[in-house]
Symmetry: none
C-alpha cells in the first residue's frame, strides 16, 4: 500500500516534470521543432518513460494545452471600492496583459495556431477558453459597471469584444510575430489611450 502510494507519487512527480519540460520546449521551439528526446532529457527521464506517460507527441502537446495552459483569467476581483471607471478598466487591461505576457499566453497561442490544420479540436478548445470564456468574464465586469452607472448601458458582449480587440491590436498582435516579446515601456500610456476610446464609446455620458 505505502509502496504503491509512494510509487504513484513518484510517477506523478515525473509526469509533472515532463509537462513542465515539454511546455518549455514547445514554447521555445514550436511544436515541430521541439524534440521528444530533448524534452525527456530536460525532464530527467528516459524516452521510454516519457512514452509511458504520453503515448505520442501529439498527446503530450494536447495535455499541455489542456492541463497546463494559461487560465482565461479571473476578472471578478477587478472592481474595488472607490474605483473610478478608468481605474477598473485599467485593472482589467493589466490582468489581460499579464496573462498574455507573463503567463506566456502569446507564445502558447502561436504554437496552438500553428497546429490548427493538424489538430483543429485543440485550437477550438483554446479559442473557447481564451476567446469566448474570457470575454464572458470581462462582460460580467462590464455589466456590473453598467449596473453601477459607471458605463452607459450597451451591448456588453460586443463592447468587451471591441475593447479586447483594441488592446490586442496594440499589444498582442505585434508580440505574436516576435520571439520573447515583452510589454513595451510605454504600455501605460497606450493602455490609457485605449481606455479613452472605450470611455468615448461607452462612458456614462457618451453620445448615443
Amino acid at each position: 500500500m505505502a509502496l504503491d502510494t509512494h510509487r504513484r507519487k513518484i510517477s506523478s512527480q515525473k509526469r509533472a516534470g515532463i509537462l513542465r519540460s515539454a511546455k518549455k520546449h514547445f514554447l521555445k521551439y514550436g511544436y515541430t521543432s521541439a524534440g521528444m528526446a530533448d524534452i525527456a532529457r530536460d525532464a530527467d527521464v528516459s524516452t521510454a518513460t516519457l512514452y509511458k506517460h504520453f503515448s505520442s507527441k501529439e498527446e503530450l502537446f494536447a495535455a499541455i494545452v489542456r492541463e497546463v495552459a494559461v487560465p482565461a483569467g479571473d476578472y471578478s476581483g477587478a472592481i474595488e471600492a472607490g474605483d473610478t471607471a478608468r481605474d477598473i478598466l485599467y485593472r482589467l487591461c493589466r490582468i489581460y496583459l499579464s496573462i498574455q505576457f507573463d503567463q506566456q499566453a502569446n507564445a502558447l497561442m502561436r504554437v496552438v495556431m500553428a497546429e490548427v490544420p493538424s489538430v483543429p479540436q485543440l485550437a477550438a478548445d483554446m479559442y473557447e477558453v481564451l476567446g469566448n470564456r474570457r470575454n464572458d468574464s470581462l462582460m460580467a465586469v462590464i455589466d456590473e459597471m453598467i449596473r453601477r452607472g459607471m458605463l452607459k448601458p450597451h451591448d456588453s458582449a460586443f463592447g468587451a469584444r471591441l475593447g479586447g480587440g483594441m488592446l490586442k491590436e496594440v499589444f498582442v498582435w505585434p508580440a505574436l510575430f516576435e520571439p520573447e516579446a515583452e510589454l513595451p515601456p510605454d504600455a501605460d500610456e497606450k493602455i490609457h489611450r485605449v481606455i479613452d476610446a472605450y470611455l468615448a464609446l461607452y462612458g456614462p455620458d457618451a453620445k448615443d
Copy 2:
C-alpha cells in the same frame, strides 16, 4: 527570339504553378511539415526545377508571403465620388477582409507565426507588411477623409490601429483558430457595427 519568348512563357507558367502548389501545401501542413518534394510533385515539376526557380524553401515561402502582402498594402482605390463616410469605411473593411479570407492571409499568418521561433526574420518582415505598412496605407485614406471633412481631425495612425483591431477581433481572431475559416454570413451587419463604433469615436460630429 521566338525561342526565348517561348521559354520565358513556359518558365513563368511553371513558376506560377509552383507558387500555387506551394501555397496550398504550406497552408495545409505548415512551413516545417510541407515537403519540397511534395510541392514539386503537385506542381508537376522535378525538385531540381523547383530549386531552379526558388533557391530554398525559405525563399519559396517568402515569395508566397510577398504575393499576399502586396495587395494588403493598397487601399488607394477605396474613395469613390459621391461616397459617404460609411461607404468608404465599408469598402476599406471589405478590402481588408478580402485579403484575410479570399487571399488566405489568415492561414498564412498562422503559418508564419508558427515559425517565429525558428525564422524570426520572416515573421518580422510579414508583420512589417501586414501590420505596419497596411496601417500606413489605411491611415492615408483616413487622412484624406479628414481633409474632406468626413471625419473629425484625429490621430489617424492610432485610429487606423483601433479600427483594424476591432475588425480583427471580430473576424480574424476566430478564424485563426479554425481551419478553412470563412467569413460569417452576418458579416455585413458586424462590419456596420464596427463602423458605428468608429464613427462614434471619429465621426465629424463626435464629441471630443
Copy 3:
C-alpha cells in the same frame, strides 16, 4: 550492472564494425563518394545508429585516420639488445612500411589528399601525425643510436626526413598511383640499398 556491461560490449562491437566498414568504403570509393547509408548497411546497423556513434561523416573519417595514425607514431620498440645499426634501421623501415601497406596508410593518404581543397584541416592533421610526429619518433631512435655510437653525430631531424624520403620514393610513391598496391617481392633488397645510403651518409665512419 550486468545490463550496463552487456550494453557496453554490444556497443563497442558495433562501433568496431562501423569503423571496419567505413574504412573499407572510404578506401574503396574515396571520402566524398562513400555513402553513410552504404557504410551503415555494410556494418549491419541503421543510419541512425551510425550517427549515434559518429556524429558526422567527417568525424567518422577522422576516427579512422586516428586509428591508423596512432601506431604510425611509435617506433620506440625498434632497438633491441645486440642489434647492429643495420638491424635497427631495417626494423624501422619494416615498421614504417607495415603501417603504409598493412594498415593501408597509403590508401588512406590518397583519400585524405583528395579532400585537401574541401577539408583542409583534416589533411593538415594527418600530415601532422603521419609527417611530423612520425618523424619526431624516428628522430628519437636515431638520436639514441647516435648516443650509442652506432651513427655519427648529425642533424637527426633532417636525417630522418631524408631517410623517410628515400624509403617513400622507392615504396610509397609508386603505391599511391596504384590501387591495392602491395610491397614488391624484392622489398628486402631495396630496403637494404636505402640503408646502405643512410649508413654512407651517417654511419659511424662516414666522411664529414
Copy 4:
C-alpha cells in the same frame, strides 16, 4: 571550305577554353566537387556544348590529365659550360620544383591520386610520366655528369630516385597536404642540404 575552317577554329578554341576552365576547377575543388555546370559557365559555353566536346565528366578529366597535364620536364639543358656539379644539381632541383609548384603538378597529382580507385589507368599513366619518364630524364643528366667525372660512377637510376625522393620529402610531401602550397622562403638552403647529401653519396670523391 572557309566556313568550315572557321567553324573548326571556333570549335577548337571552345575546346581549349573548356579544358582551361576544367583544369582550373578540378585543381581547385577536386574531381568530385568540381561541377560541370560551373566549368561550362566559366568557359562561356552551355552545358550542352560542353557535353558535345566531352561526353562525360570522366572523359573531360582524362583529357586534362592527358593533354594539358604537366610535362615531365626537360632536364637536358641543365648542364652549362663552366658549371660545377653543385651548379648543375641545383638547376635540376629548380626545374623539378618549378614543375611541381609553378606548373601545379602537386595539385594535379593530388586530384589524380584521388581517382586511383575509380580510374586506375589514368593514375598509372601519370606515374609513368611524372615518376618513371622524369626519372629517366634526370638519369641521363646524371650519366653525363658521371661521364664528365663530376660524380663518381654509380647506379644512376637508383641515385636519381634517391635524390628525387629526398627532394620530394622536403618540398612536395608537405605541399600535398596543403591547399595552394608555395615553395618555402628558405627553399634554397634546403635544396643545398639535399645536394650536400647527394654529393656525400655520389660526389667524385665519395667513399665507396
